[in-house]
């Protein structure tokens, strides 16, 4: 058996933490990760997601709220069970593999030096088991510098599993890999988490990882929870422009008009109307109506009823051309096209209804986010926009 | 650190410093009186080694003392100035029981500060000759044991012909003899008795003028008498006011050096012994002093003490046959009064230290 003996739920109750200067870096996070499931914590850098993970790991002391594993409180503002006694395993962003040790000793470290010390025989068999499970055979005598990125990743996972933790923590474990390896490891991790059946918290800024690995996604922004839902729901009904952006709806347009009918909304952009899903008011607190488009849901189609636009740039990316077009004063739209376009060309756009999410335009305004979150909204979108460009 | 934090820290530190010293006696302590002590032949020797700060003799003294009396001794064999400096730095925390030092003026100063044991019942002071008894203070706080010339006029025979050599101290002001070598009064124990005698004999103004003239011509000061001798032997200085023992040593090793014992006499230095007022081992300390005042001890120290044995002892009946032939038997020694030397010590030494800056 590779995972832990029994699965336990993780509960966070009103968890928050302040910086030394008194500013809250995380506030009022409430969630439960049912036993054996994976929670992805999604957000851009600086949103508090790493702090959340460090609070769970016992590397930070909460300013308010508590962390419970099973029924046992592990962290409260007054007392924190130190990390070595929490029975958790963690995979670090930079792997944190000790450069002076060999793979065998790195994996067996906790069983030799930790509070879960075992006999040398038990340690050897556990290390052998993990080496096999993570396909590290033949690398036992190597040091971290002699391993490839993917191998390091697997050693880090093996180390985290060695002491049969009841909770696994992942801190952006794939962010240091190149894009091809990242996709591979994503699949591998999804498989692994399912096989292990261990409760896990997975922090990432990459929407595809969150959607692929998680049973539930917690979206953090400005230190607060903005959405806590299954991945499909985050994709289908983001609670704000900012979540939509994170979920891949990377182009933002300001429509001239919005008509709402239940879950559907009709927006008018550059004099042309198209349909999208209405997601209520923007939880981020944006005032006017907005529409967010997914690049895969926008096609160039010069037929009638298409939204008029002008090509700004077109870059060949192998599988497709990445085309950015300007739609009058409403904004710019990113899309993928099988053929190149010349900057300055006039084109028409057609938008699939499930590729557009619409905020605002409804009668009742319900601002969810704090003023603080609203303030940060632009920066978040901007960053996410850059991420999208890179990907 | 903010300004107020700094202030608090500084205040706290100051209070701490005051607190540490609060236990120390603040005013002038009464001199330790040993009048009700038992003499060395009747008292019980305390445990632990006797700590002796000494300028002459070193292990020659301590080894024989331990052999004769069975009392272990731990010696600090230091320059005279260093001994005085240590005693001063340790005034509140003395690390010594007995001091043997060339320079009775310095011991007189310590006596006046109450740092020395007094009125204790010494058994062998009767062995002192008339001159020694006359020197010893009434309360026996320090006991003179011998005297010798702190300086004679030594010259390099390659640089100065014997018939042209200076005959008296006033001859040294002749620019032909510049630069004159001398040991630094602040560092070398025997150098202060030289200058203090000039200050006593000539009066302050004239003495300052005398040394000022020497400095104007060129006066090379060295830390100790040893380097003065080296400089003289090498010809770096043609003439030096050099302690007599060093002169005999140079002559013996064949260096081109000779000397003149001036008609008016040579400034002398008195070697004396004293006990710390705070000693936890008064009996062992008295034993040492009484032991020193025997002709046998003095004879041994003179015979085995090398340069340190070239002295005129105050202890009657001492065998002086070990003295070198070069030493004149009738050389007159000029001694500064203890109280004058004590009173003016800091002033004169400071004047000298600053004189060497003025002359450059």
């Amino acid at each position: 058996m590779i995972g832990s003996q029994d699965s336990v739920p993780l509960r966070l109750r009103g968890l928050g933490m302040r910086y030394g200067n008194g500013a809250w870096v995380l506030r009022g996070v409430d969630t439960t990760v049912p036993a054996g499931t994976t929670l992805a914590v999604l957000g851009p850098s600086g949103c508090g997601k790493s702090t959340l993970l460090r609070l769970v790991a016992g590397l930070e002391t909460p300013g308010e709220g508590e962390v419970l594993l099973g029924d046992r409180p592990l962290s409260t503002p007054g007392s924190v069970v130190p990390p070595e006694h929490r029975g958790m395993g963690m995979v670090f962003q930079d792997y944190a593999l000790w450069p002076h040790l060999r793979v065998r000793d790195i994996i067996g470290y906790g069983l030799r030096h930790g509070v879960h010390r075992t006999t040398a025989g038990e340690r050897a068999s556990r290390v052998a088991e993990l080496v096999e499970f993570l396909r590290l055979g033949g690398l036992e005598e190597r040091r971290p510098v002699e391993l490839s990125g993917g191998q390091r990743q697997r050693v880090a996972i093996a180390r985290a599993l060695a002491t049969r933790p009841r909770l696994l923590l992942f801190d952006e474990p794939l962010s240091n890999l190149d894009s091809r390896l990242r996709a591979e490891m994503r699949e591998e991790l999804a498989l692994l988490l399912r096989r292990l059946g261990t409760t896990a918290v997975y922090v990432t800024h990459d929407v595809s990882e969150a959607l692929a690995l998680a049973d539930r996604v917690l979206v953090l922004h400005g230190g607060r929870t903005v959405q806590d839902a299954p991945p499909e729901e985050v994709f289908a009904s983001p609670v704000g422009g900012w979540v939509a952006n994170l979920a891949g709806f990377s182009s933002r347009l300001v429509p001239e008009g919005v008509t709402v009918e239940g879950e559907r909304a009709t927006v008018t952009v550059a004099g042309v109307s198209f349909e999208g899903r209405h997601c209520g008011e923007d939880a981020g607190g944006a005032t006017g109506p907005e529409v967010y488009l997914h690049p895969d849901a926008v096609r160039i189609d010069d037929g009638a009823g298409a939204v008029p636009a002008v090509v700004a740039s077109s870059v060949f990316e192998g599988r497709h051309h990445r085309v950015r077009v300007r739609v009058g004063s409403a904004g710019t739209v990113l899309l993928h096209s099988s053929v190149p376009h010349r900057p300055g060309d006039r084109v028409g756009l057609r938008v699939e209804a499930d590729g557009a999410v619409v905020f605002g335009g409804a009668t009742d305004a319900r601002p969810l986010g704090s003023a603080h979150a609203a303030q940060d909204d632009d920066r978040g979108t901007e960053e996410q926009h850059r991420d999208a460009v890179h990907r | 650190m903010s300004h107020s934090e700094r202030t608090v820290a500084a205040t706290a530190a100051g209070l701490l410093a005051l607190g540490l010293s609060a236990c120390a006696p603040g005013g002038q302590a009464a001199p330790a009186n040993g009048a009700d002590m038992l003499p060395s032949s009747e008292c019980t020797v305390e445990d632990g080694p006797l700590r002796v700060y000494l300028n002459p003799w070193g292990p020659t003294l301590s080894d024989r003392f331990t052999e004769d009396t069975g009392i272990p001794a731990e010696i600090a064999d230091l320059g005279g100035g260093e001994i005085l400096a240590r005693i001063a730095a340790e005034a509140n925390n003395p690390q010594w029981d007995v001091v043997v030092l060339d320079g009775h003026g310095s011991l007189e100063a310590l006596r006046e500060q109450g740092a020395l044991l007094s009125d204790h019942p010494l058994e062998n002071t009767g062995n002192l000759d008339e001159e020694g008894t006359a020197l010893m203070p009434q309360d026996r706080a320090w006991v003179p044991i011998s005297r010798h010339a702190a300086a004679v006029i030594a010259y390099n025979t390659d640089a100065v012909a014997p018939d042209e050599a200076p005959r008296s101290w006033s001859d040294l002001t002749d620019p032909a003899f510049a630069p004159v070598g001398i040991a630094d009064p602040a560092v070398a124990a025997p150098a202060y008795p030289i200058v203090s005698w000039f200050f006593q004999d000539l009066g302050r103004a004239e003495a300052e003028e005398y040394f000022g003239t020497l400095a104007g011509n060129g006066l090379n000061t060295y830390e100790k008498n040893g380097p003065v001798g080296q400089a003289l032997a090498s010809g770096e200085v043609p003439v030096a006011a050099l302690q007599e023992q060093n002169v005999y040593g140079l002559i013996e090793s064949g260096e081109p050096v000779d000397f003149v014992w001036p008609q008016e006499g040579a400034p002398g230095v008195v070697r004396a012994v004293a006990i710390s007022a705070d000693t936890p081992r008064p009996c062992a300390a008295q034993t040492l002093v009484d032991w020193l005042l025997t002709p046998e001890t003095m004879g041994h120290l003179m015979a085995e003490g090398g340069d340190d044995g070239i002295i005129s002892p105050f202890v009657s009946g001492t065998d002086t046959s070990s003295l070198p032939e070069a030493r004149p038997e009738d050389g007159e020694l000029l001694l500064t009064e203890a109280s004058f030397a004590a009173e003016n010590e800091a002033d004169i030494k400071n004047w000298f230290a600053e004189q060497s800056l003025r002359s450059r």
Binding site: P82 | L20, A24, A76, T221, G226, V228, L357
Partner: protein, 577 residues
């Protein structure tokens, strides 16, 4: 980065207790080792005799007394003259040599590095003693070479030159460290942008290197100002009172003058603090701090006239290292100094005396070595723990530790030693059973305090390279705080630990300032034996002792740097854990 030092207690709650306990312990040790002695020195400047004599008074006016005391003025003026002059001369010399070393390749170029390190670790008293015996009116130059350089050397300008020749390695090594990092692509980028060589030098190279040059020169200034070995050797030949020597004389020569020691220490610390602040400013955020920088040497193109540069290097080595050590060597084999280099003046008697059974010099050698070993071990451990607190904890008093570390960089050994006399002579300590005055243990404490700032800097550099994640990973694997230090941190910074141990050991063997001030009189130490014999005029015996100590120090340094290199550069096959 906080998970280093928390631990469970009674059911596994409580956090930060060990972290804070360690922090307070380090802070308390620093206060005792550096803070209190310094405080006592300054207090003596305004309240002379406090706690030391039966009579004392509070006299804050003493700080201004300098205007009326010629000796105080001369000490300050001489120190400033010497330090500024040596800073200029040594700075220019060191910088020029560093440029030479890293601009062209020629046979023997590595000798420049070797000479610089040898000068740096050799006790300055030994070097200065060699120079004095070389240049004095009856010295080696007169007797062997037939020229008398004494009027030239024993003048302020001459002393500046000698001091510069002894201390230039600070500038050389600082600039060399920067030149290691002097990426050629910066210059190539400028050239491709159309800049001519002169423009490249003016706009790229000089601005990049200016902080290093400034830092090196300031290091020379700081070291000369605080150095006691040089004035101690000089005092025998030439009355040139400097601050360190006058401070020494104020406490160790008669008449004792605590206020002089206190006031001059105050001035000395103020001047050096200002210089240290400038230094830290110069190296801030840069890689110019050669104490922490470790870099692979670049390989410059071959020189056009290699013979010229090789010759220059040989000449420099002969001048800076050959003259003082050669002089010491010759004098150590001579009967008398003024006898010169003649067959009848040659003798082995001084070495025979040293190596005779039971000689004070041998005893002193053994004692000094033991003290240095103890101080090196204590310093390395304390510096490691200080570095850990500064790097890996959130102890609230960290800034105080930081301040203490910076301040102690500015406290020269002689001031520290005077502070130890003032502090440990307080009778209240003896009453508490802490009467360490007159005990060799005090030498270990003083050695530790003196070496701590450099050791901390060495280790901070290494600790900063360790990602906190490595320790957090160990914590999550279940390792307790002490285990994390032992199994993760210590192996990772082992080269820094070794080199800081070696540096402290090498400098501790000949810690002249601390030993002359603090060694119990009956406890023989190497520097005190040599200094005493030198003062007495026993130059042959003194130089023989100096030659033996210099050989020992160089040997130890070379051995430990070899060990350090092995730890650092060993192939990954070397060790099993």
């Amino acid at each position: 980065m906080t998970s280093l030092l928390e631990r469970t207690r009674g059911g596994g709650r409580r956090r930060g207790a060990p972290e804070n306990a360690l922090g307070w312990a380090v802070l308390a040790l620093l206060a005792v080792l550096v803070g209190l002695p310094l405080l006592f020195v300054v207090v003596q400047g305004v309240a002379p005799g406090l706690g030391l004599e039966r009579d004392w008074s509070v006299r804050p006016d003493l700080l201004g007394e300098i205007v009326r005391r010629p000796l105080w003025q001369a000490s300050l003026a001489n120190s400033l003259t010497l330090a500024s002059g040596a800073m200029l001369f040594g700075g220019v010399l060191g910088t020029a040599l560093a440029f030479l070393r890293h601009t062209v390749a020629f046979p023997g170029a590595r000798l420049l590095d070797g000479v610089a390190w040898a000068l740096l670790v050799s006790p300055s008293f030994v070097l200065a003693q060699g120079w004095v015996l070389f240049a004095s009116p009856s010295g080696v130059a007169v007797n062997t070479l037939g020229v008398d350089p004494s009027p030239l050397v024993f003048s302020p300008a001459g002393l500046v030159v000698i001091t510069g020749l002894v201390k230039y390695p600070f500038a050389y090594l600082a600039v060399s460290a920067a030149l290691h990092w002097d990426d050629r692509s910066y210059r190539q980028a400028a050239a491709l942008s159309g800049a001519r060589p002169w423009t490249v030098l003016r706009t790229v190279r000089v601005p990049l290197l200016t902080p290093a040059v400034a830092a090196g020169a300031i290091l020379v200034f700081v070291d000369v100002l605080g150095d006691f070995g040089l004035p101690a050797a000089l005092s025998a030949a030439y009355p040139y009172p400097t601050l360190p020597y006058s401070i020494y004389a104020s406490v160790r020569q008669s008449p004792v003058s605590f206020e002089l020691g206190g006031v001059l220490s105050f001035y000395l610390v103020v001047v050096i603090s200002a210089a240290v602040l400038l230094y830290l400013r110069a190296v801030r955020g840069s890689r110019y701090d050669f104490l922490t920088g470790s870099a692979a040497p670049a390989s410059p193109p071959p020189a056009r006239i290699p013979v010229l540069w090789s010759g220059l290097t040989a000449l420099l080595a002969a001048l800076t290292f050959g003259v003082p050590l050669g002089t010491s060597l010759q004098v150590s084999f001579s009967r008398t100094l003024h006898g010169g280099l003649t067959p009848e003046n040659m003798t082995l008697e001084h070495y025979a005396e040293i190596f005779a059974g039971g000689s004070r010099m041998l005893e002193g050698l053994a004692n000094s070595l033991s003290i240095a070993l103890a101080a090196a071990a204590a310093t390395t451990l304390l510096a490691f723990l200080t570095g850990v607190v500064l790097t890996f904890t959130r102890f609230r008093g960290r800034f105080l530790i930081d301040v203490a570390g910076t301040v102690s960089l500015a406290v020269p050994g002689i001031v520290l030693a005077v502070g130890y006399i003032f502090l440990w002579n307080q009778p209240v300590l003896a009453d508490l059973g802490l009467g360490l005055y007159g005990h060799p243990a005090l030498l270990v404490l003083a050695g530790t305090a003196g070496a701590l700032p450099i050791a901390v800097r060495l280790q901070l550099g290494a600790l900063a390279q360790v990602p906190p994640g490595l320790l957090n990973a160990a914590a999550l694997s279940g390792a307790r705080p002490a285990t994390r230090l032992r199994t993760v941190l210590v192996p990772l910074v082992a080269p820094a630990l070794v080199s800081s141990f070696a540096a402290v050991l090498a400098s501790g063997i000949f810690d002249l300032a601390a030993t002359t001030m603090l060694a119990p009189p009956s406890f023989a130490t190497l520097p005190v034996e040599i200094l005493a014999e030198y003062d007495r005029g026993g130059y042959g015996y003194a130089t023989a002792g100096a030659v033996v100590s210099a050989a020992l120090v160089l040997l130890l340094t070379a051995a430990s740097s070899a060990i350090g290199r092995r730890l650092l550069g060993g192939p990954p096959s070397g060790r099993r854990t």
